[in-house]
């Protein structure tokens, strides 16, 4: 099967089209401008609708409208833009509407910069918007995986009637890699709840407002059950060189990919180290990581932020092992050598754990 050389933005956009996405609304923001540019040409070719919205807020609410009438819909942005979309994501969750949101994470807080970062981990995994809700978060580490996860994100969103967020970054947005395509989806799920006009049925409504006392509480418990089911069924992760290890690195996305090279360097030098990579950041693979932690001595967390994933790693750390953190916030991207040097220093007792 032939491969295509694409940027992450293009690959993700193409995956959405292959997954049956018929609607995209977005707003220009670096480093993901190629996304709306690509969609503006490709989506209408496939019979879909592209709209350059007047704001990030409008874009996410257009996606809301597209989802209301049963279509697969997508928006993409980068950190400050994703902040603006949070109200809309909360409404999608409250109304139980499927949608896919791509965040090509850049440095923050505030306007930050336009270089790659993982600083939106808290925002992505802890809700971001108001209310008791969860967003499924997928974190790819290659352009191929960005394609693959975008492709399945629509299925997951439809299956649970819940927004799915892809947390990538500026590297994955702009890097060019070869990508294998999947088959274009022809059969999409039927959505009886969608608003299409009430011909031949009772009127449908979509809402997140429940004013009668106790009704919202029930609705929230219903969502809770759904989130529990997602925690049971949708956890994704990968581990590398973890069969014979004393220490492991926990890292996700682009940073995990750099760590993979660090692990190779360290193993050449005789260090028994492996890599654990959560792919779903929510639900986080707590039990799976716990299993790895049971057989090791030290945990290294490496992120392109100030250590936002550490909280989740701590939940898995039932043996209370020392955790060492190496982070590059504000758009810094580590090299595999600086990570391996840091780890050697830690193993030799020259660095303090957290």
């Amino acid at each position: 099967m032939s491969k295509y050389l694409l940027t992450g933005c293009e690959a993700s956009a193409e995956a959405a089209i292959h997954a049956g996405c018929k609607f995209y609304a977005g707003y220009p923001i670096t480093p993901q401008n190629r996304f709306p540019e690509y969609m503006s040409k490709r989506l209408p070719e496939e019979g879909g609708i592209f709209i350059q919205a007047e704001s990030e807020i409008s874009a996410i609410n257009m996606v809301f409208g597209a989802s209301v009438c049963g279509f697969r819909a997508l928006t993409s942005s980068s950190s400050p833009g994703i902040s603006l979309k949070q109200e809309g994501i909360s409404y999608l969750a409250g109304c139980q509407l499927p949608a896919v949101i791509i965040n090509m994470n850049r440095g923050g807080p505030g306007l930050g910069d336009v270089t790659p970062s993982q600083s939106d981990y808290f925002q992505a995994t802890r809700g971001g918007g108001h209310g008791d809700y969860r967003t499924i978060v997928l974190a790819p580490w290659t352009v191929q995986e960005l394609y693959d996860l975008t492709y399945i994100a629509f299925d997951i969103a439809d299956k649970y009637r819940n927004p799915v967020l892809i947390l990538a970054d500026g590297v994955l947005a702009q890097i060019m890699e070869s990508v294998k395509f999947k088959k274009k989806k022809k059969k999409l799920p039927i959505k009886k709840w969608a608003l299409t006009g009430c011909k031949g049925r009772k009127p449908n409504s979509i809402k997140s407002l429940f004013l009668t006392p106790g009704v919202l509480e029930k609705h929230n418990w219903k969502l809770y059950k759904k989130y529990k089911k997602i925690e049971e069924k949708e956890i994704r992760y990968e581990k590398y060189f973890c069969d014979d290890v004393d220490n492991i690195i926990v890292s996700f996305g682009t940073c995990a990919r750099i760590c993979y090279e660090s692990v190779k360097i360290l193993r050449k030098e005789g260090f028994k180290i492996g890599l654990f990579r959560p792919i779903t950041l929510w639900p986080f693979p707590y039990k799976q990581l716990q299993k790895e932690i049971e057989k090791i001595k030290k945990i290294f967390v490496v992120e392109m932020n100030l250590g936002q994933m550490i909280d989740d790693v701590k939940i898995s750390n039932i043996k209370n092992l020392p955790i060492y953190f190496y982070g590059r916030p504000g758009g810094g991207v580590p090299t595999s050598e600086e990570i391996s040097n840091f780890i050697i220093s830690c193993i030799k007792g020259r660095k303090e754990d957290l």
């Binding site: 609607f23 609708i49 709209i51 609410n61 996606v63 809301f64 409208g65 006009g197 011909k199």
Partner: protein, 247 residues
Amino acid sequence: MKSIYKKPESLKEEITIYCPGCGHGIIHRLIAEVIDELNIREKTIGVAPVGCAVLAYDYFNFDVTESAHGRAPAVATAIKRLLPDRIVFTYQGDGDLAAIGTAEIIHSAARGENITVIFVNNAVYGMTKGQMAPTTLPGMKTTTTIDGRDVKCHGYPLKVCELLSQIDGVSYLERTSIDSVQNIIKTKASIKKSFLYQIENNGFSLIEILSPCPVNWKMSPKDSMNWIRDVMSKYFVCGIYKDKGVK
């Protein structure tokens, strides 16, 4: 015996939350009558606002969705683009449309989205019990302008029809009132025209309706109607602000 007056099919058998003398009930009925008359109930999709009409999906007997505060035109844009043969309208109050949702209404108009907007102007935030709205008149007392709206401090009311009339994407704009039986009949005709324009793929249209809010105005229903006639409609002058006609 011949039935000459009944509940429109496009309204559900529901008791509304609206206060005595409120204009929303009248306007809901006008929309429902128009939808019945045009025989489009089964292909109409409504977009409810945040505000007093937030529960519109409980009252209209066709598909209706919620939308976040001010975002109804964005939601309607996507629905209409994806389902161009359906009839899509938003129902919005003055806070929703002319304050928090100003960007959405202006840009939906600029894109010439083929939707109908029913804009209910009662010069006050009703649902939250009477704060200053973007359409509160100069000198008008509200819970956040207890000495009356001072334009030096609170700025001027926004005249939505006048504002949108500058936008090329707009096909039809009219401001009407429901202060009298004649004006209610006129308002219905305007709503019908707006829906007909949509059916004809004529582009964006908006009907601004001056509507009473007796509880928050602290007036009787009758005085409220008089106030619309004597005061409100002097500032918000009724009439057609744009009409491109049918293409």
